[in-house]
């Protein structure tokens, strides 16, 4: 339980959370925002697995993607709510 919470928090405070949010803010398209977030999640797991996918933990990958997708969608919501362009 703590293990999963910790992984989620670690992801929110690193690439998926922060870049996901930033990239999400760059689009008004929900699908695109979610894809941006997911891609960041994959990239992060890849980097931290030392550029070797066989080393990546499936659970960590899943959590990174989920956090990225959520962050991208939140970023997109901020864009829609807070900008007219």
């Amino acid at each position: 339980m703590l293990d999963i919470l910790g992984t989620i928090a670690g992801n929110i405070l690193s690439l998926p959370g922060i870049f996901g949010l930033a990239l999400g803010m760059m689009t008004r398209n929900l699908l695109l925002a979610a894809i941006f977030g997911a891609v960041i999640g994959v990239i992060e797991t890849y980097i931290f697995a030392g550029f070797d996918f066989s080393q990546a933990e499936p659970l960590e990958l899943t959590i990174a993607i989920c956090v990225g997708v959520v962050a991208g969608c939140v970023g997109r919501a901020i864009r829609v709510r807070g900008a007219t362009v």
Binding site: L2, D3, G6, T7, A9, G10, N11, L15, F48
Partner: protein, 212 residues
């Protein structure tokens, strides 16, 4: 809300803040907002990072009463006191350097606060009762990360096997060949070991290898 009933049109306090937050600013320029946001961000992040590092010192770790026993054991070992004066402190072995794993370790350590308060390991006897369980979680972590924290300082590549004692050199060569990791052989490197540690470690190692 009670204060709202007299005036139906006026939205509630939180609603007004929320609406104001998302309205374009009439008085502040975009540049002002960007610079202010940047400064606020630097301060918030810097402060957060500073606070996190404060919890990453030996003084912080051993400020808990529960940690006095393993502190005493650790001060007898080579990582506390040796001929070169280079040390490994608690966070060196127990907290990863990689940012996201570090955050994870810090979150997981919040349970330690709870156990310090309720006194789960506040006497030597209680500590011994829990040691195997605690050591098991450290071993599991080190085994799955290929002893990542040891490798922040030690590395097979830079070991001169010719000046190591024969047994060490032979075992390290074997470790390289068989893909073994530091904790496979160096349990108890900083603390006392529970009686049945070898069987328990074997179980963990087999479990992890089977899962791969």
């Amino acid at each position: 809300m009670a204060n709202n009933s007299s005036n139906e049109k006026r939205p509630g306090f939180i609603r007004r803040i929320w609406n104001g937050f998302w309205s374009p600013s009439g008085v502040l320029s975009l540049g002002f907002l960007l610079i202010a946001g940047f400064l606020g961000g630097v301060m918030a992040w810097g402060g957060f990072h500073w606070a996190l590092e404060e919890t990453n010192t030996e003084q912080f770790c051993t400020s808990c009463h529960s940690m006095t026993k393993n502190w005493d054991e650790y001060t007898e070992t080579i990582h506390y006191n040796n001929h070169s004066g280079v040390r490994a402190t608690c966070p060196d072995c127990h907290v990863p350097h990689e940012w996201q794993y570090k955050v994870k370790a810090k979150i997981m350590a919040s349970k330690d606060l709870y156990h310090e308060i309720i006194g789960t390991i506040d006497t030597d006897e209680k500590y011994e009762d829990h040691r195997l369980k605690m050591a098991t979680s450290v071993w599991t972590k080190m085994k799955t990360t290929d002893s990542r924290e040891c490798r922040n300082c030690h590395s097979f590549e830079y070991m001169d096997f010719t000046i190591q004692e024969t047994r060490a050199a032979a075992d390290h060569q074997k470790a390289l060949d068989e893909g073994k990791t530091c904790i496979d052989c160096h349990q108890g490197i900083a603390h006392g070991l529970p009686a049945d540690y070898l069987e328990q470690y074997k179980l963990i190692a087999e479990g992890i290898e089977a899962a791969k």
